[in-house]
């Protein structure tokens, strides 16, 4: 009797434990459903309709919104592909810098004494905690062509004022500089943790074999932190693809429309022109492109 009872209670216990685990996952699942899955499905639904926010009817039109985007004669086509081109430019310029400088700073901080390291780590991380509007205002003041801090110093040193936000390539340089200052801390923290995980024995063995610092970096550090590196590259790419606030607030897409990134166009289309159908189609295409790029990076 005793033996028969045991498995039953064990099974019960197991079920209970599974249920408890489920409870722990539940909050995330609910948030995922509410803020990601349901909006995504709804977005797909909207993208298949002629969805003007103010119209009383929103007829189903199949893939017509997507067809418009790919029709070279439509205004939507140039809006999407010019915006995409600008976004891609931003990604290509910013991601390598975000990764390389993040790693460089992590290496630098790891090689200085403990107390100082914590101090600098905090300093470098603080900008990440600031909202994009504050970052943009700070840089608008620093970079102002005619009264900004940076140009004041340049002019004191006898250089000409540089139109940081109103002329290319300076506008891109400024946007990317501001982005690096703002988000670098995150990558740096991740890299510092990764570097701490590299087994000390490997360096000792390397030192015995007479490896130089560079050789240790190439043959020990880099291979060990490879998975983390991949993570940083992918998250940086996704974050850069989603660029919106910096150009929206600092250049307003200018000069001309040269820094008008895709998300600016989509948000404008959705909430100023109220054309949610095409805007949703564009947003979904953009996500698709991001997914493909992330998979390729893997």
């Amino acid at each position: 009797m005793k033996e028969a009872k045991l498995p039953a209670s064990k099974a019960k216990k197991e079920r209970l434990s599974k249920f408890t685990s489920f409870l722990f996952v539940l909050p995330y699942l609910l948030l995922f459903l509410a803020f990601l899955f349901i909006p995504l499905v709804y977005g797909i639904y909207i993208s298949l309709h002629d969805y003007n926010l103010l119209s009383s009817v929103q007829p189903f039109i199949g893939f017509e919104n997507y067809a418009t985007i790919f029709n070279p004669d439509s205004a939507m086509n140039s809006l999407f592909f010019e915006g995409l081109g600008n976004t891609v430019k931003f990604v290509i310029f910013s991601v390598p810098l975000l990764v390389a400088i993040g790693l460089g700073l992590a290496l630098l901080l790891n090689s200085i004494p403990g107390k100082l390291r914590t101090f600098f780590r905090t300093i470098y991380f603080i900008p990440y905690a600031i909202s994009v509007s504050v970052v943009s205002i700070i840089f608008l003041w620093i970079l102002d062509t005619n009264s900004g801090l940076l140009n004041m110093y340049l002019m004191d040193l006898g250089f000409d004022a540089i139109p940081w936000l109103t002329k290319q390539p300076f506008a891109w340089i400024s946007l990317i500089g501001a982005t690096i200052w703002w988000t670098l801390g995150f990558n740096m923290i991740i890299f510092i943790n990764a570097l701490n995980e590299v087994p000390e024995e490997l360096y000792e063995a390397g030192a015995i074999d007479g490896a130089s610092a560079w050789q240790k970096f190439i043959h020990i550090t880099l291979p060990t932190i490879r998975p983390i590196m991949l993570f940083v590259i992918i998250t940086s790419t996704i974050a850069s693809f989603n660029v919106f606030g910096q150009p929206y607030l600092m250049t307003r897409g200018g000069p001309g429309d040269s820094t008008e990134v895709l998300l600016m166009g989509i948000v404008n289309l959705a909430f100023e022109e109220r054309e949610l159908g095409v805007a949703s189609a564009m947003a979904l295409l953009m996500s698709l492109i991001m997914i493909v790029i992330s998979v390729i990076q893997f």
Binding site: T122, F125, S131, T145, P163, I189, E273
Partner: protein, 417 residues
């Protein structure tokens, strides 16, 4: 050591959380007075939405509070929706067919779109004893009308305004009480005020906002239109001339610095390095707060043909979906606002109701509002076209590139057409 790290990152996370909450504190609908729900019957409570999240909010609240105290029959529940989210919030309420206000404030340039879609109501049947069109400036009524039908009760008209720095005028040997009135004087004053060695300029030409107000103003003054006969007129002589004139202030006359960035002209005016400035009446608080010794006047005639100034307006509109039982209360409230909008003038705006802008108190309310009202007779609004703001975005891009010296005026406008 590890423990220490954790503590630091915890601190960083806390800081970020604090900053995030601090920054998001502004969002969402803010309930402002009224709203003692339950006390009075359903039909007597009127919900009013407005985008007055700036320094203008308290003045409208004052009017509403006084209305609520002045009588017992109706209660107005005033809700401020942040300006940047205003039309999005309205659109989502329209789309969801729920939570629509009974009255809302709408900009003149938005009314065509909402009237065409049948979202806001023709107010012709509300005109009578309590409100009538002839109590308002005729241009305000025109601005609140769509194809001859009145869709809004005007609150104010806000045209472009001219500001100048009196201290700089004095230092340049100009009469600090005498603003320029035409193009010749404007250029002459600007040249007198400019001192490039001191990094000081007569007039700083913005390359982005508020060109949406400045550029059409000069086009109208040139006798031109941005939109006529069902199409945009970006390549007409009046439009090209307006843009060439603005560009000439930078290169030919050199009274403006080049490569002005977003808000750069405001910064320089506040720093006392720009003698003259053009912007909307909403800037008054910023000038006051900075302690600038400034003057305010109608915009000089910078175009070659006639007086004119681009303006937008605030109007009270009523959604088509409104409960008919509330119309009496709405009419009563709007009638009251028309007679008692002096508080709105304290924000630097000029109410469009004759009872206010023709009164003696209005002349005394501040230095700015009477100057705004002086322009009522020749204001011009954006054309009645759906999403006009959007239709002008290629034009504003062209203006931006030309004023940055990166394109030729005629060529850029040709591309925008």
């Amino acid at each position: 050591m590890k423990k220490m790290n954790k503590r630091w990152s915890a601190l960083a996370v806390t800081c970020s959380a604090v900053l995030l909450t601090a920054c998001s504190g502004n969002s969402g609908v803010v309930e402002e007075g009224g709203g003692d729900s339950g006390g009075s019957g359903e039909s007597s409570e009127i919900t009013l939405w407005a985008p007055f999240s700036g320094p203008d909010g308290p003045f409208m609240k004052e009017i509403v509070d006084e209305y609520n105290e002045s009588q017992d029959e109706y209660t107005v529940n005033f809700q401020i929706v942040p300006q940047t989210e205003y039309y999005r919030t309205v659109d989502l309420a329209v789309n969801g067919e729920s939570n629509m206000p009974d009255v809302m404030v709408m900009h003149g340039d938005q009314m065509f779109t909402y009237a065409e879609k049948g979202i806001i109501r023709d107010l012709g049947d509300l005109m009578g004893d309590e409100i009538s069109a002839d109590e308002y400036h005729p241009n305000a009524i025109e601005g609140a009308s769509v194809e001859e039908a009145l869709y809004g009760v005007p609150l104010d008209i806000h045209p472009l305004l001219f500001y100048w720095n009196k201290d700089m005028f004095e230092a340049a040997g100009l009469d600090p009480e005498q603003p320029p009135t035409n193009r010749e004087e404007f250029i002459e004053y600007a040249q007198a005020l400019t001192n490039e060695d001191e990094n000081q300029f007569g007039y700083v030409v913005p390359t982005l906002w508020p060109q949406e107000f400045i550029f059409p103003t000069i086009v109208f003054q040139n006798g031109g239109e941005l939109y006529a006969d069902g199409e945009v007129q970006f390549t007409s002589d009046a439009v090209v001339e307006a843009l060439e004139f603005e560009r000439s202030l930078i290169d030919e006359y050199a009274v403006s610095p080049s490569d002005v960035q977003q808000d750069g002209e405001v910064t320089m005016f506040l720093q006392g390095r720009s003698g003259m400035h053009m912007n909307g009446p909403w800037m008054m608080k910023q000038w006051e707060d900075s302690g600038l010794n400034y003057g305010v006047a109608p915009v000089p005639q910078l175009g070659t043909e006639q007086e004119g100034v681009y303006a937008n307006s605030h109007n009270f509109v009523v959604p088509e979906s409104v409960d008919e039982a509330k119309l009496d209360g709405i009419t009563n409230f709007l009638g009251y606002v028309g007679d008692n909008a002096l508080a709105w003038a304290e924000s630097g705006q000029a109410p469009a109701s004759k009872a206010v802008y023709e009164s003696d108190e209005f002349q005394e309310v501040n230095a700015q509002s009477p100057e705004v009202a002086k322009q009522f007779d020749y204001v011009k609004f954006g054309p009645d076209v759906e999403n006009w703001g959007q239709a002008t975005s290629p034009l504003m891009e062209a203006v931006n590139e030309v004023l940055l010296g990166q394109k030729d005026a005629a060529e850029a406008l040709e591309e925008a057409q």
